[in-house]
């Protein structure tokens, strides 16, 4: 019976119900989008890192798993190559070019040997020093074709477009990148392939011994470290967004329920005259709030699919995943924010004087 009243109350003011649910939905979308981007981008980076085909990675001292601000001397590659059981070793330089994009300086033949080679959708490999290869996602996002010149601090000539999945989205000759961005003789990482997968562990410990200050990771290790917890500030940022989301839910439900309580002064008086105690009145409003939050969560989940579609269409390099495991969390957060917002209006209603409410016109 009480549910019937709750439903009728929500139906009685369809626009208010809809807008409140939508606003709660925005809270949910906000959280799901951030989480979806975090997961999506990290998984994308992880997949592309695996796409290098390497078994081991050497990072400069103090380098982070994700960032590329530290560099090391290119000469180390030769030393690595000489170690027993090392089949291939190649150095790369990741040069930031704004936003989340890097131009990656590679030694094309070495990189191809390790990764299995690029699959060209258009054009072909480098011919001139200022040639650049981009992947299909980057080309689509920046609307680039083979033959175009792209300005990334310096002008680059696009010579080929390749299938995505190999380390980066933009590639150029290592030497040219080093020269053009004043990093002569510097590299960010060394990718290493062992002669036999049985020897990977041996190569790793050998590298660790020879290069004690350097980070030496097996590919699985590196990929497993690419999680939200290991990205500097991402966790805090997520918490801030959750806080903002809670605040939205709180404010919206507070206002919506507050107007509902004012508008229902007489109804609440009637219920009290019939013998409803404060708990009964509060119960009605809490159920209404939880139902609104659930509608809101549903709306938010649907909207997160919309956001993903929009990102895919306009900024394809922002990879967003739909993270199902966060749906219940988003619902819990929506309900939590709403319930906090419902406290004050709820208590106001519960305390309302029946006689005053009934003489109210």
């Amino acid at each position: 019976m009480i549910n019937r009243l709750v439903l009728e109350n929500l139906k009685h003011r369809p626009v208010r119900t809809l807008l409140t649910a939508l606003a709660i939905g925005i809270q949910v979308t906000l959280i799901l989008t951030l989480v979806g981007l975090s997961f999506g981008m990290l998984n994308d980076i992880a997949r592309r890192t695996e796409g290098t085909g390497a078994d081991l990675v050497v990072l400069p001292p103090d380098a982070s798993i994700i960032g590329f601000s530290q560099t090391m001397a290119e000469g180390i590659v030769n030393k690595v190559r000489e170690l027993p059981h090392v089949a291939l070793a190649t150095g790369i330089l990741m040069q930031p070019i704004g936003g989340i994009n890097y131009i990656t300086g590679i030694h094309l033949s070495e990189f191809n040997q390790m990764s299995g080679g690029f699959e060209y959708l258009a054009g072909g490999p480098f011919e001139q020093p200022d040639d650049m290869i981009v992947d299909e996602v980057y080309a689509r996002g920046a609307k680039i074709r083979v033959g175009d010149t792209v300005n990334l601090g310096k002008p680059w000539h696009v010579c080929g477009i390749v299938v995505p999945g190999k380390l980066s989205r933009t590639f150029a000759e290592l030497k040219t990148v080093q020269e053009r961005y004043s990093a002569t003789g510097q590299i960010s990482r060394i990718y290493v392939k062992a002669d036999n997968s049985a020897n990977i562990a041996a190569v790793q410990s050998e590298l660790q011994q020879r290069l004690p200050a350097y980070g030496v990771y097996r590919m699985e290790e590196l990929v497993s470290l690419m999680s939200v917890n290991n990205v500097p500030m991402l966790r805090q940022f997520t918490e801030v967004i959750i806080g903002v989301g809670l605040a939205i839910g709180f404010l919206v439900v507070f206002l919506s329920l507050y107007t509902a309580v004012l508008e229902r002064t007489r109804e609440i008086g009637i219920l009290k005259a019939l013998g409803a105690g404060p708990g009964y009145v509060l119960n009605i409003l809490m159920r209404e709030t939880i139902l609104l939050s659930l509608f809101g969560t549903l709306a938010g989940i649907l909207m997160s699919y919309g956001v993903r579609a929009l990102l895919g269409a306009f900024v394809p390099s922002f990879t967003m995943e739909i993270v199902y495991s966060w749906w219940p969390w988003a619902a819990v957060l929506a309900i939590l924010g709403s319930l906090i917002g419902a406290i004050y209006p709820g208590l106001k209603a519960a305390r309302q004087d029946a006689i005053e409410a009934l003489s109210y016109d």
Binding site: M1, K11, H12, L271, K272, L274, G275, I355
Partner: protein
Amino acid sequence: MIEIRDLKKTYHAGEVDVHALRGVNLSVQRGEFLCVVGPSGSGKSTLFHILGGLTPPTSGEIRIEGRDLRKMTEAERTDFRKTTVGFVFQKYNLLPTLTAQENIDIARDIAGRRQADPHFNEVLNLLGIAGRLRHKPRALSGGEQQRVAIARAIVNHPALLLADEPTGNLDSENSRIVLDLLRRLNHEFHQTILMITHDADAAAYGDRIVHMKDGRIID
């Protein structure tokens, strides 16, 4: 069943004290149909609100079915409203979003009774609203709404039915129907009824009339 001795109620409206009841004495027998008449502001509604447990008295004695309303806590008065009294108001006061049936059901739900009792259909037939129960209040005439309100007020079999100007918003035809029904409830179901009215014709439906003036009963 009702014993009232020197009942007083003072409202504090800002700086001024309003002495709404200045010493009311009244006894009502079980099964009685009592009418309360008196000029506006004489304290009739205030007396009903105290009798119905909506507000506590300031001083005096008031017992209903042996229960002392002076000593009741807020929670006990809530419980008292659930089980012992039923209200009918001038403005019907049905919940607008619910159907007539649901308005009756929610009173039962509040009282914590899940089952509709079979005898209640007799009451609904008597009230003549059995065919109108699926409509919302705005689809019902004033007379029908008031009859639904009466059904709601007695669904939990209260010892006492309090009706505050139940015909105040009705035309003479509908007033006659509602007053007739109250009289039949009193006769056929032995429902104890207290009714406030301004109308001498309406007051004649009761077994007994008391007059109120300036917060007292004057005869």
